[in-house]
Symmetry: D2
Subunit: 439 residues, 4 copies
């Protein structure tokens, strides 16, 4: 079985008390409910409108009707297949607490009963942005919502910190944690709520030691039968010397034919992610998906901006797996793995859907697709960019086709992990003459 | 970055006290170490031989040398790249406890120091096999090694239990847990150790209620552009009536052209898995892999046997996601999802590698492959079967080719989830004339 | 560039004289035009209705208007984008001959002028069906419309003939033609016209010599990196002895572990095809596609029926590449290649679209999909079957989903050639209760 | 069946008379035989050494022994499986003519007998390079060896010519041929022989009219289910205005949101190919493969050089399908299709194997891979580049891995046709410090 089989009504939740400007409490607004559904927690948004004592609103397309007396509330929803939800509870400190009893209109199940609490989005901080110096002491190996945040910051704030290498070694060549892309974070961003977009601008991404580790092999996704046979005896670690002064890397002990091989450094983050939602299994830090993760995309570099969906209150941002440089796709399985000095600034775009991660450079917008094959990732990246152009430039589908047909630049982002990745870039200069939807 | 970058020597561990038959304690034997590697736990096997006070043995291809005085021990290992491990500790109640200090021969990291405990495989129970009646009260949504076992059994034992449907509803149509293939288990099988194979024979798999739930849609992996457009308005739940007396299913409220459509029941388990190793992120119960999991293979039925690799002491067996019947691949995303009455018997094959799950029916051996595309799953299933024929019949590669070329039956096992699945079947009657390796 | 860029109006053609039953000539009817478009020939159908001297009709969705005086005719068409076609000519012996002048409404090209002839479908023979004994003397290596038919037959007729093996060797072990699946045919089936379906029932498919040739290797589509390395020294020919009396095959000189390996014979045709259309490059006999071809599907056997689209007058049926037996997918690149004794009966279903080849056995209907990957072939097979169920049982898309979800049996048909193939089978017994569209 | 089943010995051929410098005729040298194998022609190379009357040499790894008397010759070959070839004939005007009788050592076939002629490579012209002005009057729709060459040139020569657009329209907007990428050529390059590499340097590639044609749709390889539904009403032709003075393109009648959309011109050839070998079915001009063909790679531009394998005497170069510009992959199925003014210079690298087409720009070397999926094309491109680095820089497999891991730039070349294409680029500046094999 593939899907969750959570009846639609599960996503129907509850409401709470908000202080209106005229000092009268009102439940009007957008709420996020956290349910305890037979032991599993999940977050969902819904909308309430209070007029006098009457409550109306929307739950995933279905209308709700109910009432409140200021300290308690109840409402009722019926969906198109005949399912119902009876929601009731109390209002305590701007929080709704209560119980949902739901029936399924499409299946002969008995009514389900479970509890919830609901809160409204905290107001975005109006104070001046801060810069935080953060020294990590713990490193996580899952993009989990259950790891305790290491720092709470506001939108607009900047964090300066460090990451260990993919093997868990820090700037001082000291092992700090088991390998497998251990992450710095999670950072809790105030006011970020599920359904938002987290914006991470990478102000600075610099090397902080003089060596990196990689392999002498090619990943199996890159090798046909002939090449697999040729590579059959490979499998050793290669240490690269990083010449920070000159901005180049070269094998520390090169073999004969590549004795003079040197590559310019281009530091990048192999991983950047928000935590996944609480109802699903948290992915390991070698995996990628809608949440970002181990994308190994070599344009996640200083000066660029990453857009990720928010699945939990506070977003819970992770980053790590720095590469001194990486060819497209991370062909060796490891790139030039090293520790990193990072500074980033965050922001939040409320209530905007992001189908897959996106990146913006000074000159390009870049839609990413990660999936089980390059063919599938290619479709995902294209769909992601088509949505971007429709959202931001009001393009119709056939206009999207004309722009993509003439402007698309596709590169292979990732072949080293469970998901393959494709990046679709469009030059901002081509889009500049198009009216932006926000204007 | 793809791989773990755990230095090879991490897998070099420790030893312990075993009571020899002549009452003299000896460390000789196969040990499983559980390390605490900077906060992450992992299990690894190694071999010790004690002669007088001298210790020798093997750690992943490298020789160890050391000594013991009966209450403490130490040994040293050097690998081919110059890395070293200095292992030392004490012997307490047949358990080794100590510390490993390792250096990396290929990278300029500092020495890593971490603790471990090691135990030998518990003796397999010699008592008569038992039959256990087990009523589940908790259901898990990850194939995790961290869930507490619900029952401890011995190889040879039989368990009779039930599973809830993929949506978390039981035989009584009562919601018991959030949907997403919640599992019964984990069952702890005594003496099963990492590196073994767990054998699960499904004695009985019967329906225990008269309805199942499915969809009216096709998964995107099955739809080309034309079919995607045709299916654009689908997305409803379909309830099927299960006629247990006659052994058939039909839509509870069929539409016009399928008013008389009826399909024979063929109960199967969508999920069966061992827990994954402790160092990696536990997969959700919608995922599949080397550990089995949500394989949705419609030959995991009564009378058949499933082979799964053991990654943790006790194996930690999960099962669930019963389907009253399912076409190949689970095209609707849901099959005919229902609760189930299950009886199974377990066994353990010690120290045998299993690259991917396997199934055996009275007439066929079946090698499975699960990966990000059908093309990749096809290669995995073929490689799995090639290994099976080599292991069990001593076939050389070109003999494998001749048998597979004439005997292969491939079916599509799974298209509904992140992994696609392919099953490669070979008729046992064709293999019967071949000398078996075990004879 | 992908597509033909033949303006839509190219497909607008011409008309001709038909003798009506009351001895008055009329142009009313369905015509097939053969155009000479700047040196390339192509066939297209169109419809005319004559009322007195007035002509009306349809050209690919666009209305035509014109007139005839009995010996000449002209008509005019305008499409939705403003393109036009001026068609005129003379009527000679029930054939239209003339010229088309067309302009393109969407592009600034100059008018194109080209000639055509058009004929109506010949009446289907009413005589009793015949059985033809045909001894091939020439064998073709392309599914080409330009090879001269070797025999002209009527729908309902039966042909008994032989095929050489994939290497061009006949029943007498004599080389007759270069290898690469040389074909017997093409057979010209009277009255078959482009847009029809050719039905080929295989009455008899028998071996006619005692040996077959195969390989000891696995095709690269089946080998992951590990298996590729294992197979690196393979590549020899394997001769199989065919025991016609006992119905089995075994390696002629088996190696040690497969000394007693024996497989039941199951003769099949690796290739069966209609010629492709005259405007495109004829495929070689190692290729497959909408026309059938080298499908290597091991259920194209005695007793089964194959459905293929007609792309040329006479259909031009080819067959060859007999296999004494074959595991799914033809893993060795060659199956057990041998010469064959074949008897088949043909029929024609007029004016019915077939998206991809189909097969019918006594117990199943089978939709095939052939494409560049298994993933893509899987979608094609599913789409082919969905269309079949919609056409023959009036199923709506969501009814198709319910039937496929419960009844689909997918097997891998082909992995040895440029296209991979998937077969989707549905048990006829399950469909029997559904009202058939033709009743 | 997949492969040709032509016994290895078929490739053993014949010899001929060469005039040695001291006026004594000798058969010593590399010969290309053209066989007439039961009606099919094929070309193969072999080597002879004449000492006095004795002949020795090599046929595909097997030694030959024979003799000549100046006007006739004969020799004998035996392969490792016991197959034999008896070759004999006469020497006429520096050409060998004769007969081959071969037996198969691995299969019980009767001896095969067929004729051949063989010639040596013509001497490369020593005259000064010429520039040819060529006006095409015929355009071909297959990359066939059977089309009559339109012009014979020498290595070093330059040709100035024109191509029609993919729809067959010339610079004057006049239809010249049916659409489907009709080609200018084939050009016969003196001295080019099978087994060589043809080098085509594009000196000049300029537009010669002010419009191009494209589509408003996306190819199905680029659309997931969601995007397919969005694009369901697309399918119209889009005319683009080409502003040759300013070097830009824009839709001729743009819709609202792209009213000001303008893209820089970057003229490219969608097709460039050598003819395929005479024994296989010639591909249509919409297809691609080892021979190049419809690669739709947007770096086949002015200033770049294309490398293609030679499969026939004279190479038989085709080119066409000019695009005013194209986004990566040709997402619309058509790029901006237009006629083109082309000037190119050819050269021949004798006796060097090319696994797949390659391109060289002033700054990069680019290995191409074309196959049935992006995943497969990705492996092909990687294998092609790995071979290039091994051939030209003597890199070992693990050195190849280190260079590719740090230097690879992958882009998607093609998604619009039967084959998908991937291009793997490496910066020449990175390779410059590596010793070149030729030095």
């Amino acid at each position: 079985m593939r899907r969750n089989l959570i009846p639609a009504l599960l996503f129907i939740c509850a409401s709470a008390l908000a202080q209106s400007t005229d000092a009268k409490p009102t439940l009007t607004g957008h709420w996020t409910a956290n349910i305890d559904y037979y032991g599993t927690h999940a977050d969902f948004g819904f909308d309430l409108t209070q007029q006098a004592d009457k409550l109306t609103g929307k739950f995933r397309g279905d209308a709700l009707e109910g009432a409140t007396d200021g300290s308690s509330f109840q409402f009722f929803v019926k969906d198109s297949e005949g399912g119902t939800a009876q929601v009731k509870g109390t209002i305590v400190n701007n929080t709704l607490q209560g119980e949902i009893v739901e029936t399924d209109g499409s299946a002969p199940t008995k009514a389900a009963t479970y509890t919830f609490t609901a809160t409204q989005r905290p107001q975005r901080a109006s104070a001046a942005s801060e810069r935080h110096e953060f020294t990590p002491t713990v490193f996580y190996r899952q993009f989990s919502p259950f790891n305790k945040p290491v720092l709470t910051i506001n939108p607009g704030d900047t964090v300066h910190t460090t990451t260990v290498d993919a093997g868990g070694n820090d700037f001082n060549s000291q092992k700090r944690v088991m390998g497998g892309n251990p992450q710095t974070g999670p950072f809790f961003i105030q006011s970020a709520m599920p359904g938002d977009i987290l914006v991470v601008h990478i102000n600075r991404l610099r090397l902080n030691r003089d060596w990196a580790m990689s392999d002498d092999d090619l990943v199996s996704r890159a090798t046909d039968s002939d090449l697999a046979v040729k590579m059959k005896d490979a499998g050793k670690t290669i240490v690269w010397h990083l010449d920070l002064a000159n901005g180049t890397a070269s094998p520390a002990k090169p073999t004969e034919h590549i004795a003079h091989y040197t590559v310019p450094l281009k530091p990048m983050l192999g991983c950047i992610a928000t935590a996944t939602g609480p109802a699903s299994a948290p992915p390991g830090t070698g995996d990628s998906g809608y949440y970002g993760g181990n994308m190994d995309f070599n344009e996640i570099t200083e000066g660029n901006t990453v857009y990720l969906p928010v699945s939990n209150p506070g977003a819970l941002l992770y980053l790590g797996d720095g590469h001194a440089l990486q060819g497209d796709g991370e062909l060796n399985g490891n790139a030039l793995e090293t520790s990193m000095d990072v500074e980033f600034t965050v922001d939040v775009i409320p209530n905007k859907h992001l189908p897959s991660p996106r990146v913006e450079s000074p000159t390009s917008i870049i839609a990413l697709g990660y999936s089980g094959s390059l063919d599938s990732a290619f479709r995902d990246a294209t769909s992601n960019m088509a949505q971007w152009l429709a959202d931001d430039y009001n393009l119709t589908p056939t206009e999207v086709a004309q722009v993509l047909g003439t402007a698309s630049q596709y590169k292979v982002a990732e072949v080293a992990d469970r998901n393959a990745g494709i990046a679709l870039k469009v030059d901002k200069a081509l889009l500049h003459p198009l009216p932006h939807a926000s204007k």
